[in-house]
């Protein structure tokens, strides 16, 4: 047990900023690298081979640059999935794959991204990607649907994405800013707004992007471009997050001096898979809702449009984890499934003041007799408690007594500390 331990949440934005120097180093060798997440980039080297005189000199040069950072790995293959698996094996030196299909055939199915399917394949006696790729694709599609099709393509070394239908190639969204964006909050808001516009625009064609090029123009005229890619089509949340990480990385590493005056998102590698709507949900309703919430966000700011998730805690105020609408929920600080002995039983007070509100209570032999609501005194008709709540005494938290107090007008959840009563919840 370590009561003083502090659990830090993973900050992918910070990691992106930290990783930016690696990306810039690679970009100086080969332009248009595709960032997947902090720590993982794909580099299309086809066009650079002639410039560097072949694959070997380029790979050696790139590996030299990577040795500046401990743990750097380099894999070369025709497709991104094979390249990533090759990099995973490249602990000492770069691993170059000549034949993707032969290389992948020897790998176990554990490298596939779908754990449920992996377990099923194992149960069916399919142990390697080679065995999987030998199965008829139609059979996998029929038995497992779209996920089965995707893993068969991966196992067969066919993971290059193509635009399947006539979506206009010039579809892109951009925004000019009269006042250059220099603050992280401004950039975050701009990222969310523009990502939302792009996804909505593509939705009209039933498409979603696998790769998005993020371009910014700085106030001093310089332009920065970075491509982000995803194994699955970007959702609005996912895209907004990645654009925000990238803008943050550029701002914090002084990559856009004077601030951002123009931002553009351009999709590539479109998919017609789109996003699966839930039962009863229709596209128009969802798009209109997204637009309305964006407008509300523009009016009150991103910190005032929120969603919530339940988390553990004994007090009603502790049991809520807030996150901005449009962003991914973070991992709950307190496990909501833990027992939390001493927590207030359901129903939860529907009104929970952020700060406890003091209230006058008249006691009669330790029993609450009357409470003052605004200007008048109300007789307590019944009550429950006291329930002691022992806090973290080693951090100086006091023990409080909690009561549910019922009057003819209302029911309250009160805490009593050092003889002073506070309302911490109203059963409205």
């Amino acid at each position: 047990m370590c009561p003083g331990a502090v659990v830090l949440e993973r900050d992918l934005g910070f990691e992106t900023t930290d990783f930016e120097q690696v990306v810039v180093a690679i970009e100086n060798l080969v332009p248009k690298v595709e960032v997947v997440e902090p720590g993982l980039v794909f580099v299309p080297i086809q066009g650079a081979l002639r410039y560097y005189g072949g694959e070997r000199p380029l790979v050696e040069r790139m590996f030299d640059r990577l040795t500046e950072w401990p743990g750097g790995r380099l894999g070369v293959a025709h497709g991104p999935f094979a390249a990533r698996r090759a990099a995973a094996l490249a602990t000492e030196a770069p691993v170059c794959v000549d034949d993707d299909v032969a290389f992948l055939a020897g790998l176990t199915v554990d490298v596939l991204p779908d754990d449920d399917l992996v377990a099923t394949f194992r149960w069916l006696g399919i142990g390697t990607l080679g065995e999987l790729s030998q199965l008829p694709r139609e059979a996998l599609a029929s038995r497992f649907g779209e996920p089965g099709l995707v893993v068969h393509r991966l196992a067969s070394g066919e993971d290059r994405m193509v635009a399947p239908r006539g979506v206009p190639e010039d579809i892109s969204v951009e925004q000019f800013y009269e006042e250059p964006l220099q603050l992280l909050d401004q950039a975050g808001f701009a990222a969310r707004a523009l990502a939302g516009r792009l996804i909505v625009a593509l939705d009209e064609y039933g498409a979603a992007p696998y790769r998005v090029e993020v371009s910014v123009w700085a106030a001093d005229g310089t332009k920065r471009v970075r491509v982000w890619r995803s194994a699955d089509p970007f959702t609005e949340h996912g895209l907004a997050e990645r654009v925000w990480w990238q803008l943050r990385a550029w701002i914090e590493t002084a990559g856009v001096s004077g601030g951002i005056v123009r931002l553009r998102l351009q999709p590539a590698d479109l998919s017609d898979a789109g996003r699966q709507l839930s039962l009863e949900e229709d596209t128009v309703t969802r798009l209109e809702a997204v637009r309305a919430l964006h407008r509300a966000q523009a009016l009150v700011g991103p910190d005032a449009v929120l969603q919530a998730q339940a988390q553990g805690g004994r007090r009603p105020s502790e049991q809520v984890g807030w996150f901005r609408w449009g962003e991914e929920a973070s991992i709950p600080q307190r496990n909501p499934k833990a027992p939390w002995p001493g927590r207030v039983p359901s129903p939860t007070p529907v009104l929970v003041p952020p700060d406890p509100q003091s209230i006058e209570v008249e006691w009669d032999g330790g029993i609450p007799a009357r409470v003052r609501l605004r200007s008048r005194w109300e007789t307590v008709t019944t009550w429950a408690g006291p329930w002691s709540l022992v806090g973290r005494w080693w951090e100086g938290e006091e023990t409080v007594e909690r009561y549910q107090i019922v009057t003819s007008a209302t029911a309250l959840l009160c805490e009593v500390r050092d003889g002073i009563a506070f309302v911490v919840g109203i059963y409205d």
């Binding site: 809702a289 637009r291 005032a304 939860t348 409205d428």
Partner: protein, 213 residues
């Protein structure tokens, strides 16, 4: 037929169908002071609509608990809270939400001009959105609500002289407006925090003559 449906059917007066739920294009006024039990009731009315698409709660003070909203059955991934404390901005925020969302529950700050509230009710009608208004001063101007609900009495069960804890409540409300077919009624609902809202009685109120609207 479940218990709720039975209760609702029993409430249909003279073959005219009316029900206690938020409806597209309708405004419901939840009147009475804090503690009267109408915030939880208002959230309960959003449950059906939250199954299909996002619904918004405009929280003026930042006091409304999402945990209580989840308890009554609102889908967590479809519930969005908008904090809007500024009196001048509040009508714009609610209007923006009504433009695209199918249901908005809004606390009304003190001092919002009546004309703004009427415009919002008209916007809800034209956009087909459900609007639930919970004025913090407990009153709404006439002509805004299709259905007005005013808390009359709330009784809690479960706690007894220090023992037990609050478990179930009976909320008695006065209901009037076009949504009641022009008849003022007393409605009693029962709720235990885990099961859906249950209407247990609906009778014509002894005093009539309140303006509908």
């Amino acid at each position: 037929m479940d218990e709720t449906a039975t209760a609702r059917t029993a409430m249909q007066p003279g073959g005219t169908s009316w029900d206690l739920r938020a409806e597209p294009g309708r405004t419901i006024g939840l009147l009475g002071t804090a503690g009267g039990g109408l915030t939880r009731l208002g959230l309960s009315l959003l449950v059906d609509l939250s199954r299909r698409a996002p619904v918004a709660v405009v929280d003026v003070r930042g006091w409304i608990s999402p945990i209580a909203a989840f308890e009554v059955g609102i889908y967590p991934e479809h519930l969005v809270f908008v904090r809007s404390r500024e009196r001048l901005q509040w009508p714009q925020v609610v209007a923006a939400l009504l433009e695209g969302l199918q249901a908005v529950y809004a606390e009304v700050p003190v001092g919002i001009p009546d004309a703004h509230l009427r415009r919002l009710a008209a916007l809800a009608r034209s956009r087909g959105g459900a609007l639930l208004l919970r004025p913090l001063d407990g009153r709404l101007p006439s002509g805004v609500s299709h259905l007005s609900l005013q808390s009359e009495e709330v009784k809690w069960n479960g706690a007894d002289a220090g023992h037990g804890c609050l478990r179930r409540r009976h909320l008695q409300m006065r209901a009037w407006g076009k949504g009641m077919g022009g008849i003022e009624r007393l409605i009693e609902v029962e709720e235990d925090g885990e099961n859906p809202l249950r209407v247990v009685a609906g009778m014509v109120a002894p005093t009539a003559g309140r303006a509908t609207g």
